[in-house]
């Protein structure tokens, strides 16, 4: 009896369903596959990389970066530093409105910066800590004042700290703003179903709407890289981010798909506890710089690249990749030298040091750890992989409960963002516990000037010190890999890994 009614139901479904086929998605909708479900869609509270991709459709920033990492206009058309480098004056683009029709003016900018600085739970407070006050000079001119010169400020405004939300919506929704964000970007928020989709549609009042060619974008999270690609292949998606390196070859061969890649501004490396906690004193790596040097010499970055990232990453030994203008050329990548590594271990009186390597259980980290284990063994190291769930590993890093830790950083456009918080004494991301007064002075000085050459000189000095101490053994800079439908044109890759939706069309 059950089966009969089932068939009847199925038949009814089939009849009804055929009507649905005709209303397929129009070519104007971009279906975008994300690698994760973003967190809260409030620029003040947001924390994840994947959220920034959605924000780039929703929220314009005061300034943006160009593919060569130079700062370029977005909501602000021009800017200048005061003579003492303590005030940044920005001219705003005239006639810009938020999605709710409100005007984007100097008052709105002031509201936003203050919201970032004061809201409870704000993740932007640290980035904007240098800003002491915001002055409204005239309706389209705003001035950010700092107590001391702070060069990285401008680059900070290319990210979430520079995103402008509608003050009216911000005041109305308070800490619930993320449920219905109202910004000044090319697309406005339509709906979000957690873990299923985020839908945005074209904003007709956008200042640059001539370059917006999609009527809608549907962002959908597909956590598994294989599944994400399968959805692109079968046409459920038009565009996917973070393609797995091992699939790049197959995408390249497929003439219906296009592969795009760009070297990241972040890095992959091994952080070593050299002073964060007592573990630094008891561990072989943490207590002896010679053993750290031997460890680095035992590793073959090209080999790691080949095995873990299919040769698609760029080997490196600093917080920026060798092709970055801020790379210190005086500190080149050391070649693998097992004999010298053995020699150093002998000098250190510890020919077979044990290394407990905290490894998040992600595929890349786990592969990297296994390759490191094999390579370091040749020099005499006994690497023990301490597999740890990612959320737990962050806590361990925070407490200094590790000897060595595989950690990636997504990178910031200004090299300071990859450097200061990691190596200056007692900074929040300084997991290694490095505390070197000479380095602190160099790092602080580098922030006081906006002169590129002077900053570059400081970074060269910093690179030498960091390279001698080895709080982080930098290994590689991955590539951001994207794959999209070959019909799609106008996509331009940026080293920050974000996607700019203006100019793309299908």
């Amino acid at each position: 009896m059950m089966r009969k009614s089932t068939w009847a139901a199925l038949a009814a479904v089939l009849l009804l369903g055929t009507g649905g086929l005709a209303t397929g998605a129009s070519a104007q909708t971009l279906k975008f596959g994300l690698a994760e479900d973003p967190d809260v869609l409030d620029p003040t509270m947001a924390r994840t990389f994947v959220g920034r991709i959605v924000f780039s459709a929703l929220c314009d920033k005061l300034v943006d970066i160009a593919p060569d990492l130079k700062v370029v206009p977005q909501l602000a058309t021009e800017w200048s530093w005061s003579a003492d480098n303590k005030a940044l004056t920005m001219k705003l683009r005239p006639g810009v409105t938020f999605h709710d029709g409100e005007k984007l003016d100097a008052e709105a900018v002031k509201y936003n910066i203050e919201r970032h600085k004061t809201m409870q739970g704000s993740q932007r407070r640290g980035e904007l800590s240098a800003v002491t006050s915001v002055d409204v000079v005239d309706p389209l001119t705003v001035r950010l004042n700092t107590a001391a010169p702070f060069a990285p400020l401008l680059a900070t405004l290319t990210d979430r700290a520079g995103m402008m939300i509608s003050p009216k919506a911000g005041k109305a929704l308070g800490d619930k703003f993320g449920t219905a964000p109202v910004c000044a970007g090319p697309f406005k928020f339509v709906e979000r179903i957690a873990q299923d989709r985020i839908v945005v549609e074209k904003f007709d009042g956008y200042w640059n709407k001539a370059n917006v060619n999609f009527s809608r974008i549907e962002f959908r999270p597909f956590i598994d890289a294989t599944v994400r690609l399968a959805n692109l292949r079968s046409g459920q998606l038009d565009f996917i981010e973070r393609l797995s390196a091992t699939d790049a070859g197959a995408v390249q061969k497929d003439n219906k798909l296009k592969l795009v890649s760009v070297t990241e501004i972040g890095y992959y490396g091994i952080t070593i506890n050299i002073g964060k906690s007592d573990k630094a004193k008891t561990s072989a790596l943490g207590s002896n710089p010679k053993i750290r040097e031997a460890f680095e010499l035992s590793l073959d970055r090209n080999g790691i690249n080949k095995v873990v990232f299919d040769g698609l990453a760029t080997p490196g030994n600093q917080w920026v990749a060798p092709n970055n203008p801020a790379y210190a050329k005086s500190v080149p990548i050391p070649k693998r030298d097992v004999a010298k590594a053995k020699q150093l271990l002998k000098e250190a009186g510890n020919p077979n040091p044990v290394v407990n390597l905290v490894t998040p259980t992600t595929t890349d980290a786990s592969k990297l750890a296994q390759v490191v284990q094999v390579m370091a063994k040749e020099a005499g190291f006994d690497v023990r992989i301490q597999a740890t769930e990612f959320a737990t590993s962050l806590n361990m890093a925070d407490k200094g409960d590790f000897e060595a830790y595989i950690l990636a950083w997504s990178g910031r456009p200004d090299p300071d963002g990859n450097l200061f918080s990691f190596h200056a004494c007692k900074q929040p991301l300084n997991y290694s516990g490095l505390c070197n007064p000479a380095l602190d002075e160099i790092l602080n000085d580098s922030r006081l000037t906006t002169n590129v050459a002077e900053r570059q000189a400081a970074w060269e000095k910093a690179a030498k010190i960091v390279n001698a101490e080895r709080p982080i053994i930098y290994l590689l800079h991955r590539k951001w890999l994207y794959a999209h439908n070959a019909k799609l044109t106008g996509f331009k890759e940026y080293p920050d890994g974000l996607v700019r939706f203006t100019g793309m069309k299908m």
Partner: protein
């Protein structure tokens, strides 16, 4: 995942037989079921693989060989090479150790917790029984995999901890089963008699009750080994099972899924191994159930 399936069904014989020993009769009847025999043989073959892995496996399961990186199957490497150039055949053979071990140990742990608690609950009755059963119901109501994930995350990702997590998560089934059996048996004459002559409850439980509920537990244990092997694979898929470089079939599948298109052999062999072993345990368990259940006499 299939936690409650046999709770509903009062399985297996409860009365001692008059002429032939129950174990011998059950074994004779088990041998009559071809599916169960095939299952038993396959399980034994894989167990011997696992025990003799060091002798049988042609290569080391952890030694990387850069020249065989994701190499297609050849005569030297009949199952191909994996992402670090390790021999997939050797890893499948060594993986049998981890996977079978995971199945057997976690069920052993579940029995170790489940039987005493179930005996206590069934024998004591009253408030103790009530509390234990409500707690058991609550454990069963929390999704099995979530329980296992949370515990594996708490204990830290490793094969041992995955086994502990699976064992604890599977224990409630055995508590319930033992209790149901105890309640059925404890009113039987021979138990009443044992009590009348002044045997201690502990002695009664172990000498008189346990031997009679053992068959039902064995059936459930065999079937739970099958689900435990799958559970280990599932935890490994989430990165919480066997950790690299040591292989288990689940962790091999987890890595292999990234290479589905260009190195399918990495995924095929561990997948087939899981299927064959788990199917065999299921056939064996079903056969045992038939053999031990008096209702299935033809």
């Amino acid at each position: 995942m299939t936690a409650v399936e046999s709770v509903m069904q009062p399985a297996a014989a409860t009365k001692p037989a008059a002429e032939e020993s129950p174990a011998r009769r059950a074994f004779r009847r088990l041998l009559r079921r071809k599916g169960a025999v095939v299952g038993l043989v396959v399980v034994l073959i894989f167990v011997s693989f696992a025990l003799l892995a060091d002798v049988i496996a042609p290569y080391s399961p952890v030694e990387a060989d850069w020249s065989a990186l994701r190499g297609a199957p050849t005569l030297e490497h009949p199952f191909g090479g994996d992402e670090l150039g390790r021999d997939v055949l050797s890893r499948v053979i060594h993986g049998a150790q981890a996977s079978l071990f995971a199945g057997v140990v976690s069920v052993f742990l579940a029995l170790l917790i489940g039987i005493p608690v179930g005996l206590l609950s069934g024998y004591a009755g009253g408030l103790v029984d009530g509390l234990i059963m409500r707690f058991t119901d609550a454990m069963l109501a929390v999704p099995f995999l979530i329980l296992a994930i949370a515990m594996a995350a708490f204990l830290g990702p490793s094969l041992t901890n995955a086994m502990i997590a699976i064992g604890i998560a599977a224990a409630p089934i055995f508590v319930r089963l033992t209790r149901a059996q105890v309640q059925a048996v404890k009113v039987e004459d021979y138990v009443e008699a044992a009590r009348a002559v002044g045997n201690s409850p502990l002695r009664i439980a172990f000498r008189h009750i346990l031997p009679n509920i053992w068959p039902a537990l064995m059936v459930q244990a065999t079937l739970t080994i099958a689900s435990a092997i799958i559970a280990e694979a599932s935890l490994s898929f989430l990165g919480l099972g066997q950790q690299p470089p040591e292989p288990s079939w689940g962790s091999m599948l987890n890595t292999a899924k990234d290479y589905m298109t260009d190195a399918p052999w990495m995924a095929v062999y561990p997948g087939i191994s899981i299927f064959i072993v788990v199917l065999s345990f299921n056939l064996l368990g079903d056969g045992l159930r038939d053999a031990l259940d008096p209702r299935h006499r033809e």
